[in-house]
């Protein structure tokens, strides 16, 4: 019998913050199912999300000036054990994801009631919580394989959430199935890449991986791993040619789900991409610089134009916004591809700004769907008069999408242009501005339909309920607030960019 005694210093609540942010929604999900009570499910979901939000905020405050928090799951020290590692970059992502979910949930209550039969509500919210858990876990973990596990948790629950749209439109089922196939291929590529990295280095901890890759330099295994990981995550990010799952998934998912996913899921994937590009692999490798310069940047620019162009011709507002999301992802990738601090800071800032912008827009569309029965342009005509508050919020979101000064979207595009100019790539700066003009066209189409046309005769829409209007307007005001109070976003995104660009050093 072992007789040794070990000394242990008891940990306090504040030491547990990194794991609590994930744990609370994770435990709440099975709790909802176990209790099985329709009246209790929503409050539990909301409280869990709010608690996670507070935790993330505290984490962000403690790392915003640099530094990181490391938490060892099960008491096993890294690199052997799983490590949760919070620094400015992922604390910012945690803050965004929990913030969006906490604001979307009060909105979701009415919207879900009208779009999903009541007997599925418990399981719906349980899935929502699992999706939240997965997204947060992807952001917080410092273990490469753990990223895959959480990515699967979030993806699997996302497929279910999207399929719930089938009560409104049966095409949600094929959309979810498409996403399932594409998402699984992405996850498989990612895990194949991880397998190769493990073969080459014998470790899965990100900081340790970075060290060992730096030591041994580039070899064929590492290069192949890099390719697999970029393509795998690229599918989740919806990098331009890998984006085909996105428009249908966003269009047919329930409105609340679209608002949540559009603002968070692809953003978390962009974060993972940055983490792997900058922290695990080093940008100093030639193959990586080449990939960024000759693959990522051209595709990003193609996305900015092609997706915006397709968006202009859509007849369904939700689909228009989905294509616009693909274009906006192009801006983030362009920022990453610039490989300088302004560029990466622009990517991080745009990740946040576009998150809140798309949340307003998709929540606004959800409110229109609730009252007018559809998101096609003929159903939203004249809504500016029938639903003035919702329409006004959509216009604010649209302005932020274009990047009008005084809105959140302006800040990140400004940083992006600055990054391109610092590099001396002025044609790219011009392209950013030109593609924003395409955004002006499709946003104008929305404004025209809502304000300059008279409503269809059979529509008797009234203003959305307060429980939806308040979340929509919180986000709309956030769009303006973060357009003027730029300090928070700038500090956080610059700290994050410095941390990311410092390469493996940023992980120590």
């Amino acid at each position: 019998m072992a007789t040794e005694t070990t000394h242990h210093v008891a940990m306090t609540l504040s030491d547990h913050l990194p794991v609590l942010a994930i744990l609370v929604p994770f435990v709440a999900a099975p709790l909802c199912v176990l209790l099985g009570s329709r009246s209790l499910t929503w409050p539990i979901t909301f409280l869990a999300s709010a608690a996670s939000f507070v935790t993330s905020f505290l984490l962000l405050l403690s790392v915003i000036d640099g530094g990181f928090i490391s938490y060892h799951i099960g008491g096993w020290a890294p690199p052997l054990g799983i490590e949760y590692r919070v620094d400015a970059a992922n604390a910012f992502v945690l803050f965004l994801v929990t913030g969006i979910s906490t604001i979307v949930l009060p909105y979701a209550r009415e919207s879900v009631k009208s779009e999903i039969p009541e007997r599925h509500h418990t399981l719906f919210y349980a899935c929502f919580l699992l999706c939240l858990t997965g997204l947060l876990g992807v952001a917080v973990t410092g273990d490469a394989f753990n990223v895959f596990v959480f990515l699967e948790i979030s993806s699997l629950s996302t497929y279910v959430l999207i399929a719930q749209g089938s009560y409104r439109d049966r095409r949600a089922l094929t959309a979810a199935y498409d996403y399932l196939i594409m998402g699984t291929i992405g996850a498989t590529f990612f895990v194949i890449g991880l397998g190769m990295l493990y073969m080459a280095t014998g470790t899965l901890n990100m900081a340790d991986l970075a060290d060992r890759i730096a030591d041994q330099g580039a070899n064929r295994t590492v290069r192949a791993a890099f390719a697999f990981i970029v393509v795998g995550i690229g599918l989740k990010v919806a990098i331009y040619p890998l984006h085909l799952w996105l428009p249908n998934a966003y269009t047919y998912a329930p409105s609340a789900v679209t608002a949540f996913l559009a603002a968070t899921a692809t953003k978390v994937a962009v974060y993972v991409l940055m983490r792997f590009l900058f922290s695990v692999f080093q940008p100093s490798f030639l193959f990586e610089v080449n990939t960024l310069e000759f693959m990522i940047i051209p595709f990003a620019i193609l996305a900015m134009f092609a997706a915006s162009f397709i968006a202009i011709f859509q007849t369904d507002l939700k689909r228009l916004l989905a294509y616009s999301s693909i274009a906006q992802i192009g801006y983030m990738l362009l920022g990453i591809g610039l490989l300088n601090e302004s560029g990466v800071a622009a990517a991080v800032a745009h990740l946040f700004n576009h998150g809140i912008t798309k949340a307003v827009l998709f929540m606004g569309v959800g409110a229109l769907v609730l009252r007018s029965g559809g998101s096609f342009f003929d159903r939203i005509e004249g809504m500016g008069k029938l639903m003035p508050w919702t329409s006004a919020a959509i216009v604010i979101g649209g302005l932020s999408l274009i990047g009008v000064p005084g809105t959140a979207g302006f800040l990140s595009k400004w940083l992006l242009v600055q990054g391109a100019l610092e590099k001396g790539w002025w044609p790219i700066a011009i392209l950013v501005v030109l593609s924003s003009l395409l955004a002006v066209i499709y946003v104008w189409r929305i404004v025209e339909a809502m304000y300059l046309r008279s409503p269809a005769s059979d529509i008797e829409a009234k203003e959305a309920p307060l429980s939806m209007l308040v979340p929509i307007w919180i986000m709309a005001i956030a769009c303006i607030y973060f357009g003027f109070a730029t300090d928070i976003t700038l500090t956080a995104s610059h700290t994050a960019a410095q941390g990311l660009l410092a390469g493996p050093v940023g992980l120590h």
Binding site: A2, A10, M11, V19, L23, V33, L34, I73, A126
Partner: protein, 146 residues
């Protein structure tokens, strides 16, 4: 199935044995190959076999779908709850050393037993739920319409 006497008798004999074996694999998992995943699948096999031979309706009488769903959630809660207990005892999440502070190895033994129990319950639930979901699906086109 009424006339398949041998199948029915053998199934009745086997179901108990399978469940017993599942428990063996479950609780002996830390000394020999096995553990929650394997035990969960074996346990589910007992119910699935019963369902295949005696009809889905009878299987669902023994193990109703609502209970299956609760068990799926319960197992996850047992797993996560173990971690939360260690967290409240002042240790890191899922640090089983917390259960026996003076002999961390004993604590790890208890911890893994409880956690594996949670895994076993969830896996049983999920496997049976998958079987129910497929078997309970009404055919789109009835046989007469072909």
């Amino acid at each position: 199935m009424r006339h398949h006497l041998i199948l029915r008798v053998v199934t009745k004999l086997l179901v108990g044995t399978i469940i017993l074996f599942a428990f063996y694999v479950q609780f002996h998992g830390d000394f020999s190959p096995g553990g929650g995943f394997q035990a969960g699948v074996i346990m589910a096999v007992a119910f699935i076999l019963y369902g295949v031979v005696f009809s889905l309706r009878k299987a669902q009488k023994v193990f109703p779908p609502w209970l299956v769903h609760k068990l799926v959630a319960l197992g996850v809660l047992i797993y996560a709850g173990t971690g939360i207990v260690s967290l409240f005892l002042g240790y890191e999440y899922l640090d089983y050393g917390a259960f026996s502070p003076h002999h961390p190895e004993h604590g790890q033994h208890y911890g893994i037993l409880i956690v594996e129990l949670g895994v076993g319950i969830t896996v049983t639930g999920v496997m049976v739920a998958v079987y129910y979901a497929f078997a309970a699906r009404p055919p789109r086109i009835s046989d007469e319409e072909w």
